[in-house]
């Protein structure tokens, strides 16, 4: 019997752990973690271990299909008929050719980041010339964290420094305990941090996996994070007087003088913001090297320092006032603020590898939860401010920016720009990163997703189901005529109200997409292209180690994915399929220009117009270009991963960053005024209240619905580590876990609330939102806020192609009303807290 262990990268979710697969006689029989791979340090999760069951799923799609039933709908049988690759690609190329003179009629739903497909689909879309490229999965997650992090940290995401943090507050996230990038690495780091005494406080409506490991779980009413954060800031800045003045003076815009109109006082001529130097009592430009003590209190030149305005502003949010909003007792909040402020150790330093750095062993981390609200940006931003005022950003113990800077194999580094503030984020691939500073000038939109009316957002796809209902209202005289999509099930996970998504997809005359299995998105396809298992694929980007690796001084990495078993006869690699589509359209040269740029390929490694390549040759070129001739594809096939040491500068970029971080968002005023003019010209009604330089708490529609008695509960979504971000719902082993735990397929209801309604544990109930009404089974628990219903995962499948997952659990997103009133006007996040009724 031929037997071998093959190193590759897991593809069961976006993380991409290093794995070794035992292959016997061409059959994958076991998977284990690769102990040499820093991404997971040999550890695996349940999803990864269950990957073999995805590979041998009898319901996988292995040949191209076309629909024979012209009627498309959520519950329409497409009437699939097998076709040849040539017929499939000829049809797709002909449809694309039909709209090439008006390329904006193409919409590409590209999210599938376990491998290269994401980048290749986006490159095809850009070469074709459409602006409608959807590069993110969720209707909320990522909408705020990335734009905030790139202008206030420098990288793509954030992580608490688990190596040195002593006090970690997690808000709306299960970081290191149930979710997030580099999950299996940070889970070990989290365990070690807790073992050495780091205190974890979880603030979340749901007493989740993270809460179960925390020192303290504090339930909060959904959609009130702003109030909590502003109150914490008030206690720290005004009651306790704890903040890092030195950091604020020299590394933020805290000393920038602000006039009565909210704008910076600027030097005539240069236009540079001014500060007041307390040393010689003179007003100077922010970058004047003689400004040794820029004041953050007091006044000067007709203006006041931004920090003074912040302190004054947060004084409007004393804990006694916010207790009514958040339900967090004032005494609890004051204690948290004191513990957090004291743990931050303002003024302390530590030395690592001979380099002395500020030491701030306390931080606040947040992710999906605060973003998913009507005012998602302002729910989230003041949480980051808690770290900034402590100077706990990109220093040991504080909040760290993921993959923000590096020196090997290329150099990438965040840079300052407009007004001396952090403007250019760092990324190993030279691609435009999502950021909210300085934003773009709003204009009358030609894009179907109204991107032009969201000048501070990077994501826009949540608008598509809304605008397609009434294009004329937005001055749009065309419609999307074709959609290409990755195998991700966006219908269930990327939007809200399913009727709205159905209507949007029905409005698109032709849809072609990849499929692992026929999920609910594929039910709308005219052509289905089979997508190989990750154990049959080859990818240069294998997971999200380039975006969300573990932080700190541990080695960074690059890994490739190689096929460990032969794919089924006729299966093709998705990159080669996309390449052929580009070639059939005569776009290969433009397509390669973009890929060569994205992957930094230069001669002699650059892809050449007029040639098509096997994907293995492309990966070989990329590997040799990045890591030298000795690290070709053959080397990676043997070793799987290359470890890349990080020095202190790369691990803790804060002191080495030549740019200031914002505490005051002056540019929001400018963008708001510009937008006001555009929407006025268009005759639109538009809520501009979010265009403010200092955050205020503004209620979600669900908050008001509860207050006026129309509904009595708020439904929220939470993540499960064994189904999070994965292709796992149709996996029988994952299903077994979900069936054995009461927290997956059931909805969580507070025990006292349920009993008052006459609902017992395990009862069948109706869960009714303004968008839909679904049948669910109640799990009674004390581990949930009394005003909240918790819905886990993304279940609720009905596709015949997913017989294991079918009819189990709830699809949370289907509960969400989808209209402009539920869209954050800064980030485009769809409100993810929804008013509901629960009854038998």
């Amino acid at each position: 019997m031929a037997s071998k262990w093959v190193p590759t990268a897991c593809g069961m979710c976006y993380v991409g752990c290093g794995i070794r697969v035992l292959v016997e006689d061409g059959v994958a029989v076991s998977i284990e973690g690769d102990p040499n791979n820093p991404q997971n340090q040999g550890v695996m999760c349940a999803k990864g271990k269950a990957g073999i069951m995805n590979l041998y799923n009898p319901h996988r799609i292995k040949v191209p299909l076309k629909r024979t039933n012209p009627k498309r709908g959520l519950h329409e049988d497409p009437g699939w008929k097998e076709i040849s690759w040539d017929e499939a690609l000829t049809t797709i190329a002909a449809k694309l050719d039909g709209i090439r003179d008006d390329p904006k009629k193409l919409y590409v739903q590209a999210w599938e980041v376990t491998g290269d497909c994401f980048y290749w689909l986006l490159a095809l879309g850009s070469a074709f010339g459409t602006p409608h490229l959807m590069g993110n999965a969720s209707a909320t997650c990522g909408k705020v964290i990335h734009p905030v992090e790139f202008f206030s940290g420098g990288g793509f995401h954030q992580q608490p420094d688990l190596h040195y943090c002593n006090y970690c507050i997690l808000i709306g996230t299960q970081f290191g305990l149930g979710a997030r990038g580099a999950f299996n690495h940070i889970t070990l780091d989290m365990a070690e941090a807790r073992a050495r005494g780091m205190k974890v406080v979880v603030i979340d409506p749901v007493g989740s996996y993270a809460a179960s490991k925390a020192n303290e779980w504090i339930p909060i009413r959904p959609g009130t994070d702003t109030a909590f954060a502003l109150s914490m800031l008030h206690v720290l800045l005004n009651e306790l007087g704890i903040y890092d003045a030195r950091f604020l003076k020299h590394k933020t815009n805290a000393p920038y003088l602000v006039g009565s109109n909210g704008r910076y006082i600027r030097e005539p001529g240069s236009g540079k913001p001014l500060v007041f130097d307390a040393t010689d009592q003179r007003v100077k430009t922010h970058d004047d090297p003689t400004a040794s003590d820029p004041a953050i209190t007091g006044a000067g030149e007709g203006g006041r320092p931004a920090f003074e305005l912040l302190r004054e502003h947060v004084a409007k949010y004393p804990p006694e006032k916010t207790e009514e909003i958040t339900t967090i007792p004032a005494a609890t909040l004051r204690r948290l603020a004191q513990e957090f402020g004291e743990a931050a150790s303002v003024g302390a330093t530590m030395t690592i590898d001979g380099v002395t750095l500020p030491y701030r062993p306390a931080c606040v981390d947040w992710a999906k939860g605060p973003q998913g609200h009507k005012h998602g940006f302002h729910q989230s931003w003041p949480l980051k401010l808690l770290n900034i005022v402590m100077g706990a950003v990109n220093v040991p113990g504080g909040i760290l920016s993921t993959a923000a800077a590096g020196k090997r194999p290329h150099r990438w580094w965040p840079e300052g720009g407009t007004d001396g503030l952090l403007e250019e984020g760092g990324h190993v691939l030279p691609l435009p990163h999502p950021k909210a500073f300085p934003g773009r000038t709003p204009t009358k939109p030609f894009r179907m997703d109204l991107a032009e009316l969201f000048p501070l957002a990077p994501h826009f796809h949540t608008l598509l189901p809304i605008t397609c209902q009434d294009r004329e209202r937005y001055g749009l005289s065309y419609g999307i005529e074709m959609m290409l999509h990755a195998p991700t099930n966006s219908l269930l996970g990327s939007f809200g109200d399913l009727k709205m998504v159905e209507s949007f997809y029905q409005s698109i005359p032709f849809i072609a997409g990849f499929a692992v299995e026929i999920n609910e998105t594929n039910l709308f396809d005219d052509i289905v292209l089979p997508f190989p298992s990750y154990l049959e694929r080859s990818d240069f980007v294998a997971g999200t180690n380039l975006l969300i690796p573990h932080c700190g001084k541990d080695d960074w990495l690059w890994q490739i994915r190689q096929s460990v078993v032969e794919p089924p006869a006729g299966m093709r690699q998705p990159q080669e399929v996309i390449m052929e589509i580009a070639d059939r359209l005569g776009l290969l040269g433009d397509f390669y220009r973009l890929l060569n740029h994205a992957f930094r390929l230069k001669e002699p490694y650059a892809l050449q117009p007029g040639q098509r390549y096997p994907i293995t040759e492309v990966i070989d070129r990329m590997a040799r270009s990045w890591f030298g001739e000795e690290h070709d594809l053959g080397w990676f096939r043997e070793h799987g991963v290359i470890r890349i040491p990080r020095d202190v500068e790369e691990a803790y970029i804060g002191p080495f960053l030549e740019a200031r971080l914002p505490i005051y968002l002056e540019h929001f005023l400018q963008r708001g005024e510009e937008l006001k003019e555009v929407i006025s010209q268009m005759g639109l009604e538009w809520d501009l209240s979010d265009y403010r330089p200092l955050s205020d708490w503004m209620p979600c529609p669900s908050y008001n619905a509860i207050r006026n008695g129309r509904y009595d509960l708020i439904a929220v979504h939470y993540k499960l580590p064994y189904v999070y971000g994965s292709f796992g719902n149709e996996n029988p082993w994952i299903n077994e876990i979900c069936e054995r735990t009461p927290y997956a397929y059931n909805v969580l209801v507070n025990e006292d609330v349920a009993k008052a309604k006459g609902i017992s544990d395990g009862d069948e109930v109706w869960l009714e939102s303004p968008a839909t009404k679904v049948r669910a089974k109640a799990k009674l628990t004390q581990c949930i806020h009394p005003q909240v219903v918790g819905v886990a995962g993304h279940f609720g499948h009905w596709s015949p192609g997913m017989p294991i997952a079918r009819g189990k659990g709830i699809n949370f997103n289907s509960l969400l009303p989808t209209d402009l009133e539920h869209i954050d006007k800064i980030s485009t996040a769809l409100d993810h807290c929804v008013e509901v009724r629960l009854y038998k």
């Binding site: 390329p103 986006l122 070469a127 999965a137 691609l431 435009p432 973009l594």
Partner: protein, 111 residues
């Protein structure tokens, strides 16, 4: 959308640089053109080319390409004869008789 002049009046034949410009990404849809040919004075720079394009295409082009500070937006890529202008001096790079590709990419996203 306004269309650019193919040649400026002040230029005499033989005393111009012929520049082929190709648009990719959002700009292809915005301008409804894949490529144009422009005549510019010899010695013109990429910045001069953009000034000409802004003059021709107006505010919709200008507002998307430049940030408020007058710098190119971070999602705008410009290749001159296949080389990124960041490696050639940015907007000050000399055009020669160049092939220019101007790309407006989507913000690479996540979440």
């Amino acid at each position: 959308m306004a269309q650019p002049n193919q040649e400026e009046n002040f230029m005499e034949e033989g005393n111009v640089a012929i520049i082929n410009v190709k648009f990719m990404g959002d700009l292809r849809a915005l301008l409804q053109q894949r490529a144009i040919t422009l005549a510019l004075p010899p010695g013109s720079t990429v910045g001069d080319l953009f000034a000409s394009l802004c003059n021709s295409y107006g505010e919709p082009f200008t507002s998307r390409v430049f940030s408020g500070s007058g710098a190119l937006q971070h999602y705008i890529l410009v290749f001159l004869d296949g080389q990124n202008i960041k490696e050639l001096g940015g907007l000050g790079a000399r055009l020669g008789n160049g092939e220019v590709e101007i790309v407006m990419l989507p913000m690479f996203e996540g979440g």
